[in-house]
Structures are given as C-alpha cells and as structure tokens.
C-alpha cells in the first residue's frame, strides 16, 4: 500500500468525510480494487468507523473488494438493451472468457460485469471495454473485440 498516493487523494477532497465515495473511486482507479489494508487506512485517515467504510464499499456495485482484471468489460442490460438482445451478448462473453458476470479470469486479464444502464440506449446492445463503447453489437463481433484486448480463444478458461 502506497500511503503517499492515498494521502494525496484524501487531501484532494479536503479529507472531507462526505466525500468517501469519490475518494474510494479514485483509490480504486489506482489499485483496480479496494484491498483490506487500504480501507482500514482510509477509515483511520477520515476518522470514520471501519464498519461505515466497509458498508459503503460493499454496497455499491462499482466497488470491488476482490482483485479485478486489467480490462473491465461491462455489458449493458438496461431495458432497451435487454429488448435488443443484451443477454445474448453477456452470454457470449461469459462463454468466451469462461467466467460469469462479476467474476475475473484466472489470469487476471479480464473482469466481466453487468451494468444496468449506460445511457446509450439508441445503440443497444452495448458493451464497454475500459472506456471504449461498442454499440449495435451482433454477438459474433464480441470475440473480435476481445481480441483487441489480448484475448485469445486458445487460452480458453475452464468452465467450473
């Protein structure tokens, strides 16, 4: 844990307790997840009980208390995307990567998540990898997109 980095983030928000969520967000952007010792340090620095910090970290989907992959794949399952075949995109991604949503591949390359609405409903179905948006997706294009991020079907993960 790099205390100086975390201190800097906390300072940026004026060590204000009410900014706990943006602070955790910025920390997660650095570490890709929220490790236990980091949360304990944040609680101490902001003079908050650990119970409160843990409560916030575990409440929001956006926070991960487990290590996440290098690339974050989010498939939209909002109503408009659902009606336009979103579930099939998720299924395809799950099958290719060998994991279910909210899981990370064993080699820590990819994390797959479901999102409830990204606000690009006209482009449904939508998948976002890191910050790149892919819209109007036919399910067969998923594999090609994942290739761009270093996915290869030869290193297929095992279904459990």
């Amino acid at each position: 844990m790099d205390r100086t980095k975390i201190d800097r983030i906390i300072e940026h928000y004026g060590a204000d307790k009410s900014e706990l969520v943006p602070i955790l967000y910025d920390i997660q952007a650095e570490y890709r997840w929220l490790p236990e010792d980091v949360l304990k340090y944040v609680a101490k620095s902001l003079d908050l009980s650990l119970v409160d910090v843990y409560g916030v970290a575990s409440f929001y989907e956006a926070f991960s208390l487990e290590p996440r992959g290098k690339h974050l794949i989010r498939v939209c399952l909002g109503t408009a995307c659902h009606v336009r075949g979103g579930p099939r995109i998720l299924e395809t991604a799950e099958r290719l990567l060998g994991i279910r949503s909210s899981e990370t591949t064993a080699d820590l390359k990819f994390t797959l998540e479901r999102v409830n609405c990204l606000g690009c409903c006209a482009l449904g179905p939508v998948m976002v990898v890191d910050n790149e948006y892919y819209g109007k997706l036919p399910s067969k294009r998923v594999e090609r997109i994942l290739h761009n991020y270093g996915f290869s079907s030869s290193t297929e993960q095992k279904h459990d």
Partner: protein
C-alpha cells in the same frame, strides 16, 4: 481574452453584445454532436477529421462547435452546417473531405448524407424538417445544438443567465417563488410533486443553512434525459439552481451525478468553474449581494440512491439508503437541515419560467400537467432518441409521428413508461395523453422519462420478470416487504417462465404486491409491483398460457421453446453447425442438419446464422 467578472445586470447585457459582435453569422459553423451516444459512434474522430480537413483545405476562418446530444440518437453522428442549417446524419470520417470541400466551401448539399424520409423517400435538408424533430417542442433541448458545453459564452450568447439577472434584480425571492408556484411546475424526476410547494416548505422550515440539490442519479434503465442535459447544457441547470436557491434562501447547493456519466461530470465541472470565473456563482453574484456556492458530488450509481432521503444520506458520505422517517426532507434533509431536491429537468425549466413567465408556461400542456417533458424513446421503435413534447400529446403521436412507428414494421404491443416503477400500456390505451395523473390512473406513471416501446415479439411475463429482477439487485434490502417480497416475486415469475407455474401463483403475486405497496419503506418498494400488476391487468392471457398450457405465445421464454430445423428449407450449408456453441447440431455438407434437443441451450445463435430461414422456433 480578459475575463471580467459580471458585476451587474447591464454587465451581462454588455458581455452578450460583445460576444455576439465577435461572431459573424456568415462565417461557416460546423456543429458536431458529441454526446456519449454519438461518441460511441465515433463522433470524436469526425471532429478531429474536420479540424484537419479545414486546415488542409486552407479555408480560413471556420467555427467548429462540439455540442452535446442533439437527440436523434438513431442517426448519429449528426453534423449541422451553418449558416444554411444543413443537417447530415450518420456521418463518418470518410465523408469529411466532401463535407468540407462541397458544403462548407461551396454551400452545396451532399444528398447521400441527408436524412431520407422512410415512407416518401424525400430527402430533408434542415433538422427542423425531419419528422422526428418536427412534432417536438424542444424548449429545453433545442439549445443543445447551439452550445459547446465547455464554453459558457455560447450559453450567454443565447441569452443565458438573463433569467438569473431578472430574478436577482427585478424580483424578490417571494416573487420568484410565487411565479414558480403559479407555473405549476411538477417534479420531472417521476414523483410529479409541485416544485413550488416543495420550495415553499423548504423556505419556511426552521433551520439553517438550507440546501438545494440537483438529482442526476438517473437510475431508470433506458432513460438518459438527464445525462444529455447535463452533458449538453449544464448551465441551464445551474442557472435554474441558483434561481431556486435565491427563492428558497439557500447558500449552498450540490449536484449529484452518477459516476457512470463521466462526460456529464466533466462538462458540469467545467461549467461550474466558468460560472465562478464570470461572477455568476459564488460570493456576491452579479453584484447583487446574493451568495451561493455549488459543487458536484460524484457517486457510484445505485438505483435506490436516487430516492430523496437516500441521495441526501449519500451526500453525507454514508451508504445511499432511504431513511425510514416521516419528516419530509424539505424540513429535515441533508445533515438534518431543510433541503430541496429536484430533478435535473425540473431545474432546467426554471430559467424559462422566469424569462417568459408562468402564464406562458401554463399555456402549454394539460390542466394538471404543464410545460414539456423529455422522454428517451427507445426499444422497438424506428427513430430512437431523446424527444421533448408538450404535456397532453398522446402516446400514439409520440410513437408513430415522432418515433416513425415500430421497427421492422412489426405490430405494436406495449409501451413502458416509468421504468421499473411503471407499467406497460397496451394498444387499446395508446391514445392516452401524456399527463401525470392520466398515466397513474392506468397503473403506470410518468416516471423520469424512459419510454420503451415493445413489439409483438416481446413476452410480457418476461418483461415483468426483467423488472422484478432489476429491482431485486437494486433494493437496499432494509425493509422486509421489499427485500423478501421482491425475491419471492422473482422466484414465482421465474417458475412461471420455466413452465413450473401453478394454480394460485397469480393470487400470491397479487397478495405480495398489496403488502409491498402498503408497507414498503420507500418508493422503490411501493412501486415495485407496478410492472407485474400492469402486465397482469392488460395481458392476462399471456400469464394463462405460461401457467396452464406451459407455453410462451411469442417464443421468448427459453424453457418453453425448442429450436428445430425445417428439412424443407435446409440447404446443408453448415453455417449453424459451425456457429453452435454447444455442438448440438449434426449433419454433413448438403445434407439436412438436425438439432440435438438435449444439447441445445436455446441461445438462438443458429437462428441468427441461417440465411435460409430454416431454423424454426416452436
């Protein structure tokens, strides 16, 4: 460019004149839509290409304005070229050289980039002529085309902040409050509560300081109205917020934006910083003596955090869960102080009301619902996008005149308003007027504006299950009726969709619905039964088929359908065989293929791969 703080109403006027004087309307201006939707289409690349091409072709002075969402998301990226106002749709980087050399330089119209009216084949040049736009009343959204959200001067050039000047210098706080009350502005976040009354309660409540809050949590799946306003015209919301703060007597405000909207966060941050720079925010606004500060609060999105008390709890840095309290947040809200929370769209209406007056505002709409409403028209409709319509317009007019009718010319089945708190409205009621109370009477509600069109291929039981499952994920889980009730509703609906429905299931669903409506702690729980209740009310035969006959009439529910190959049509091309992820299809080249029902997981990929319509679903 020296930035002099605006210290009076006349300073603002002078600044506006100065900005307008610098802008020559004869000089070509190319506006490109860069809302999140069009960015996903690659509009940023189009902008870069335009900048390069303009330089390469040595055109001299040309404005390129990157704007927020234009609304016609189906046809993005959208590019409009002034002074002629020529509108091009679905623009790609390859089109840029032609656009610059022909349209910008010569004023010639490129036919292939124009919008084509699907029924008549007519090519339409101006955005206002496109049917999608023609039938709208874009009071709030029209400026999205003309503004670069990162440049406050665009907003000022169009008259921005003159409403604030009028409020601060020509009206007392009480007069502003009266005007908003007279306008009968009802909350656009879904509740439809009269904003003026809420402002008054906050103003009269004991306790200081008072707070004003913008709710941009926008959790309804399928809704993105708030995103487009905050991305494309954040100043309209900020101006409204300051006017409200003045009327209520609040020195501090918060703009709560969900993290899933990074562009909205960015543009709003820039807007706030620029407003401060120009003396429109902070101490002694415009030299009026009124102090008001506002900041953004980013939050991880959670649908339930959009509820008033939950949002305020989240602003305090705690978990964004609703509070079980019977004191209204207008009296005891953020940190126990009187707090007025309104939706983005509600705030955006305020400058219009002040500038043009309550009488003008009430001339639009119905008896109970005044003004316009923005909807995100999505789903199985031809023209998807953001539409702004006057209250009182019918659903039919929105779906057919603006939306262009059903995608693929299929049959209309239902339109869902109000998201997971609303309901699907069937064909028989499609002439219902958009009105808070009318929609509630039907068992649905106005909601924040998500309007999802469903066609004949949609299974309504599956839709009910979808919304219940959404809420199961989003419920905070504090209270028993919502947490336990939703989970049990989900179990029952899943069983029905898998052919395990039983006699008594519908009665049990209705009993659960009753208790959830009566006893839930917050609006999520009390409105959660709506999708189930409306689908039961308007589509009972679908439930019957699933439960009694174990049949899904539209072949959606996987456990109740099977995929088969029509021997008469199969050409043995191996396409489906290769595509099948389960290896469930067998057959040789040029021989009829067969799907092994045991291995088939009903994913439907074979159906998509077959070019001969040989895969049938029974």
């Amino acid at each position: 460019m020296t930035r002099k703080k605006i210290k009076s109403s006349s300073d603002l006027d002078k600044l506006r004149q100065k900005i307008l004087a610098k802008r020559d309307p004869k000089i070509p201006c190319i506006t490109v839509c860069a809302g999140t939707g069009c960015q996903a289409y690659g509009s940023e690349n189009v902008v870069v290409a335009l900048q390069e091409e303009v330089e390469n072709q040595e055109l001299g002075k040309v404005y390129i304005r990157v704007t927020g969402c234009h609304g016609f998301c189906e046809r993005g990226p959208l590019v409009v070229i002034y002074p002629q106002g020529i509108c091009y749709t679905e623009v790609k980087t390859e089109d840029v050289p032609d656009i610059v050399s022909q349209t910008v330089r010569e004023g010639q119209i490129i036919d292939r980039l124009l919008y084509t009216e699907p029924n008549t084949g007519e090519k339409i040049v101006h955005e206002s002529g496109i049917p999608f736009y023609k039938y709208q009343t874009r009071l709030l959204l029209e400026n999205n085309l003309k503004i670069d959200p990162k440049n406050i001067e665009d907003y000022i050039a169009l008259g921005g902040y003159s409403a604030l000047a009028k409020a601060l210098f020509e009206m007392t706080p009480e007069q502003v409050l009266e005007e908003v009350k007279k306008a009968n502005l009802r909350g656009r976040g879904g509740g439809g509560f009269p904003a003026g009354r809420k402002w008054e309660t906050t103003r009269n409540a004991l306790g200081n300081p008072k707070y004003v809050i913008v709710n941009c949590d926008e959790g309804d799946p399928g809704a993105y109205m708030n995103r487009s306003l905050m991305e494309g015209n954040p100043h309209s919301v900020i101006e409204g917020l300051i006017i409200g703060a003045y009327a209520i007597g609040s020195p501090e405000g918060f703009i709560y934006v969900r993290e899933e909207y990074p562009l909205a966060v960015e543009n709003t941050s820039i807007a706030l910083a620029q407003a401060r720079e120009y003396g429109l925010l902070g101490k002694n606004i415009m030299g009026s003596g009124f102090d008001f500060a506002a900041k953004i609060h980013r939050s991880a999105g959670a649908f339930v955090s959009g509820e008033s008390s939950a949002l305020m709890t989240a602003l305090e840095g705690k978990v964004g869960e609703p509070k079980p309290k019977y004191v209204h947040t207008a009296v005891e809200g953020l940190w126990g102080k009187p707090s007025n929370l309104n939706n983005v769209e509600t705030w955006a209406n305020v400058p219009l009301i002040i500038t043009r007056g309550a009488d003008w505002f009430t001339s639009i709409g119905t008896e109970g619902s005044k003004g316009t409403k923005i909807f995100s028209l999505v789903g199985k409709v031809k023209n998807t996008g953001l539409v702004e319509v006057p209250m009182g317009i019918t659903l039919r007019e929105i779906i057919y005149n603006i939306g262009g009718g059903i995608l693929g010319n299929k049959k209309f089945k239902a339109v869902q308003t109000g998201g997971p708190s609303g309901g699907g409205i069937p064909e028989s009621l499609i002439d219902t007027a958009i009105d808070f109370d009318e929609l509630t009477k039907l068992g649905s509600m106005m909601g924040s504006g998500g309007m999802i069109v469903m066609d004949e291929a949609t299974c309504m039981v599956d839709v009910a299950k979808y919304f219940v499952n959404f809420l199961v994920e989003e419920s905070c889980g504090k209270c028993v009726p919502c947490r336990e009730g939703l989970e049990r509703m989900s179990e029952i609906l899943t069983a029905i969709c898998e052919g395990r429905g039983e006699e008594g299931d519908i009665k049990l669903l209705e009993e659960l619905a009753e208790v959830m409506k009566d006893a839930s702690l917050c609006g999520l729980g009390t409105t959660a039964p709506n999708p189930v209740l409306t689908t039961l009310r308007y589509f009972p035969d679908e439930y019957e088929a699933h439960i009694q006959e174990k049949r899904c009439p539209v072949h959606v529910c996987r456990a109740l359908i099977g995929y088969y190959i029509d021997a008469g049509k199969c050409t043995g091309c191996l396409a489906c065989l290769k595509a099948c992820p389960e290896g469930a299809i067998t057959g040789e080249k040029e021989e009829v293929h067969i799907i092994n029902q045991e291995k088939c997981n009903k994913c439907g990929i074979c159906y998509d791969s077959c070019k001969f319509d040989a895969v049938i679903i029974k």
